[in-house]
């Protein structure tokens, strides 16, 4: 079984907020009116935390933590938010009754309610992503680890419609979960090539006919991160890039005291 997780290296994060924008574009996040934005009704699945602490300011990108033990799932009265087998906590928009219990229960404040019908300025509506549903007023939404991209990968692996480098990486694996884990890891390593924490063992020709759109199997924030600070992958596989990062001495998770077992791992800034 895979267990998708994310590692965010704060040393590499430049706080540019490319991930914030990429997420909004990818997931059809409504922009809404300016008045609503000022009144605390802004939706941002990925947002940048800015907190003054002793000795400076901490900035960290904050997606949903996809907790292993998610309080939001525990309190939902109708099972509208649920945890998939691969550990992703996601949301059934047509099931949600909008009671907002989950927003109250989440210690990280990553859940957003649709106070009005979704709206976008100008011609935004012409560029909505067809793979992601648009949410009606009155339901809660949040980061899904771009679950539609992961599902597309599953589909493409089964139809064989993947780049040769990825195809080679998944060839030896028997079950689909393992294949996806390997494929994502291969793509991830490709994305962060030449970063000091990875040995780049792949010969260059493997990627000769590689189309960079293939990297779009990775979550939108990961794909767009300018500092390559966000790493995505399978936490179950000890060899994956994200597991290697999670074992780092600098690794920490937010608010462990709540016992939520978050799957987003931060790497402290080196001092």
């Amino acid at each position: 079984m895979v267990r998708w997780g994310m590692a965010i290296d704060l040393d590499k994060c430049t706080a540019c907020q490319a991930c914030v924008v990429a997420c909004k574009a990818e997931n059809n996040v409504p922009i809404g009116s300016e008045a609503d934005q000022l009144n605390g009704r802004q939706i941002a699945w990925m947002d940048l935390v800015v907190k003054d602490v002793e000795g400076g300011t901490v900035m960290l990108p904050r997606p949903c933590m996809h907790c292993d033990n998610p309080p939001c799932v525990q309190v939902c009265p109708v099972g509208a938010t649920y945890q998939r087998g691969d550990g992703i906590v996601t949301q059934d928009y047509s099931r949600c009754i909008g009671c907002r219990l989950c927003m109250v229960a989440c210690p990280y404040g990553v859940r957003y309610f649709n106070w009005r019908e979704p709206s976008w300025p100008d011609t935004f509506t012409e560029y909505l992503n067809p793979s992601v549903p648009v949410r009606p007023a009155g339901v809660v939404e949040k980061c899904t680890f771009c679950v539609h991209r992961i599902e597309r990968l599953r589909n493409d692996i089964s139809t064989g419609n993947i780049p040769p480098a990825v195809a080679k990486a998944v060839r030896g694996e028997a079950d689909m979960e393992k294949k996806m884990s390997k494929a994502i890891d291969t793509l991830m390593r490709r994305l962060v090539t030449k970063s000091d924490e990875v040995d780049e063992a792949e010969p260059e020709e493997m990627w000769s006919d590689f189309d960079f759109r293939e990297l779009n199997y990775l979550p939108s924030c990961v794909r767009s991160c300018t500092g390559r600070a966000i790493i995505f992958g399978d936490l179950e596989d000890p060899e994956s890039l994200v597991s290697q990062m999670a074992r780092s001495k600098r690794a920490f998770r937010l608010f462990e005291e709540f016992g939520t077992e978050p799957k987003v791992i931060y790497l402290q800034e080196g001092r």
């Binding site: 525990q74 649920y82 949600c96 009754i97 229960a105």
Partner: protein, 512 residues
């Protein structure tokens, strides 16, 4: 004697003042309905709710209405069980308040959710026993069921008397009288039925308020909410606000219906004594709550406390404190404890208890800003006219139910004060009293058996779908859409079983 009791059976008299009151109430309700339609068509954006203040005065209203529902059946059950003569005249008022306020509480939840129509369908269809909402819906149904049964059964003798006079509504009274003829065995049955229901009601009422407290106590993420105190705190708060409302309503009815002989001043001073006990109890909990937070709390909780005592919400907190302390002092002095002061003090306590409910809900949420983000707002909450109108509408609804009820039925159980009499005519109905009572009891017991079975099934089978975290018997890893039939449809089954059991019992047990 008999003339005297006759006059309490005058029903359906609508004076000018009544029409005026009715008009005012209906106007408020009309405005509330309009606001609700507005909210339904635009979304909750028309309210002042935002993030992090995701719950506002709708939730506070819900808690408040639940808490005043404590008054009724619980207090009247205690009075019946202890056989307090002076308390009997107010039991009916109390029971009506319970039923009406439970309905208003349920309505306020519907105002609060983003998709009320889905809520009505999906909670019965996909309800999960792990969610605080699940517990609340279950207990609310039970409480409504027992309270309605209780009110219904205690009405029967009065309905029988009413059915024998010529009014436009005699068909209604005839329907509600069943085969009541005032015979010895029926009186005995009625009184045991009331006792049994009273005993059943008390634990349900206690659980109702505990579970409402646990909605908050079970949220570990919000500062000051994750507190073991919430269950008992809500119970004592419910007793306090419930009793205050009973006192006020009983006083209004006493004045309007000239019941000075029935509801004696003594009854009110006695209620005042009970009120002061609840007040002191509440103040004790208030102290306990603040002690831990002020003396030894985590930084976050302390921050909320500062927010409440010296920050933007301090006027409310001090207002509550004064409105709890002043009535306690006034009511503790025996020479001041008269009918007038008791009613006035209840009037001081009740609004303060509503404000307290707002202060339970809002400040904790406003201070839940552990991770301040770039796009996160400045935490602030102010209710809009929609929320205020819907709040006013719910209170008007409660008043309307009370008004109509007192116009239709005697405002106190006449038979309990003046004793039973044999009715003049033989009853025409074929549904026996026994059948009615069996109906209520089987409804209650069958549904509790069902809920119990459902809970056990969830625990042992492991709720495959919506992942049972409360009870971690299974790894948390299966998707929601493969939920076993048993768990998904349990709530809808529960509802139908309750209804069916009641109907079947009446049909089976009826005589002839």
């Amino acid at each position: 004697m008999s003339e005297q009791r006759e006059k309490y059976y005058t029903t359906g008299v609508f004076s000018g003042t009544t029409f005026l009151t009715l008009g005012v109430l209906l106007t408020i309700i009309g405005l509330a309905v309009y606001s609700w339609l507005q909210q339904l068509s635009i979304g909750l954006g028309v309210t002042g709710l935002n993030r992090p203040a995701v719950w506002g005065i709708y939730m506070a209203n819900f808690v408040f209405f639940i808490s005043i529902s404590m008054s009724g059946t619980f207090i009247s059950a205690v009075m019946r069980l202890l056989n307090l003569e002076w308390g009997k005249p107010i039991t009916r008022v109390a029971e009506v308040i319970t039923v009406a306020s439970l309905v208003m509480a349920a309505l306020n939840i519907l105002f609060d959710v983003g998709q009320p129509f889905r809520a009505l369908i999906y909670i019965p269809l996909f309800g999960r026993i792990q969610s605080p909402v699940g517990w609340d819906v279950i207990v609310l149904l039970f409480y409504l069921l027992t309270s309605l049964g209780y009110l219904h059964i205690s009405l029967i003798p009065d309905a029988a008397v009413l059915s024998e006079r010529e009014t436009r509504l005699s068909w209604l009274y005839r329907l509600l009288r069943y085969d009541w003829s005032g015979a010895e065995h029926q009186v005995h049955l009625l009184e045991s039925a009331l006792k049994i229901l009273a005993v059943v009601t008390i634990p349900i009422a206690v659980m109702m308020h505990t579970v409402t407290g646990w909605i908050f106590g079970g949220m570990k993420a919000v500062p000051t909410w994750n507190d073991a105190l919430f269950g008992p705190y809500f119970i004592i708060g419910a007793l306090l606000s419930g009793l205050s409302l009973i006192i006020i309503t009983a006083a209004v009815i006493r004045e309007r219906y000239r019941l000075q002989e029935i509801m004696s001043e003594k009854a009110f001073t006695n209620l005042g004594k009970i009120l002061v006990v609840f007040l002191l109890g509440y103040l004790y909990f208030f102290l306990a709550e603040n002690f831990t937070v002020r003396y030894a709390a985590a930084a976050e909780d302390f921050h909320v406390s500062e927010f409440l005592w010296t920050g933007p919400y301090s006027p409310f907190t001090w207002y509550i404190l004064v409105s709890l302390v002043v009535p306690s002092i006034v009511l503790l002095i025996p020479s001041l404890r008269s009918y007038r002061t008791v009613v006035a003090m209840a009037g001081v306590v009740l609004p303060a208890m509503w404000v307290k409910r707002v202060l339970i809900v809002v400040p904790g949420l406003l201070n839940q800003t552990r991770l301040p983000t770039v796009q996160g707002p400045v935490a602030d909450y102010a209710p809009t006219h929609v929320e205020l109108l819907l709040t006013a509408g719910s209170f008007a609804g409660l008043a309307l139910v009370l008004l109509l009820f007192t116009k239709l039925f005697p405002t106190f159980p006449v038979w309990e004060i003046f004793g039973h009499t044999k009715t003049r005519e033989e009853p025409a109905s074929r549904i026996s009293l026994r059948a009615v009572f069996t109906g209520w009891m089987s409804g209650i017991s069958v549904s509790s058996a069902f809920v119990f079975a459902w809970a056990v099934a969830t625990l042992t089978l492991g709720e495959k779908a919506a992942t049972s975290y409360s009870v971690k018997l299974m790894p948390t890893s299966v998707e929601v859409l493969v939920t076993p039939e048993l768990v998904t449809s349990s709530m809808i089954n529960l509802l139908s079983v309750v209804v069916l059991a009641g109907i079947l019992a009446i049909l089976l047990v009826r005589e002839g």
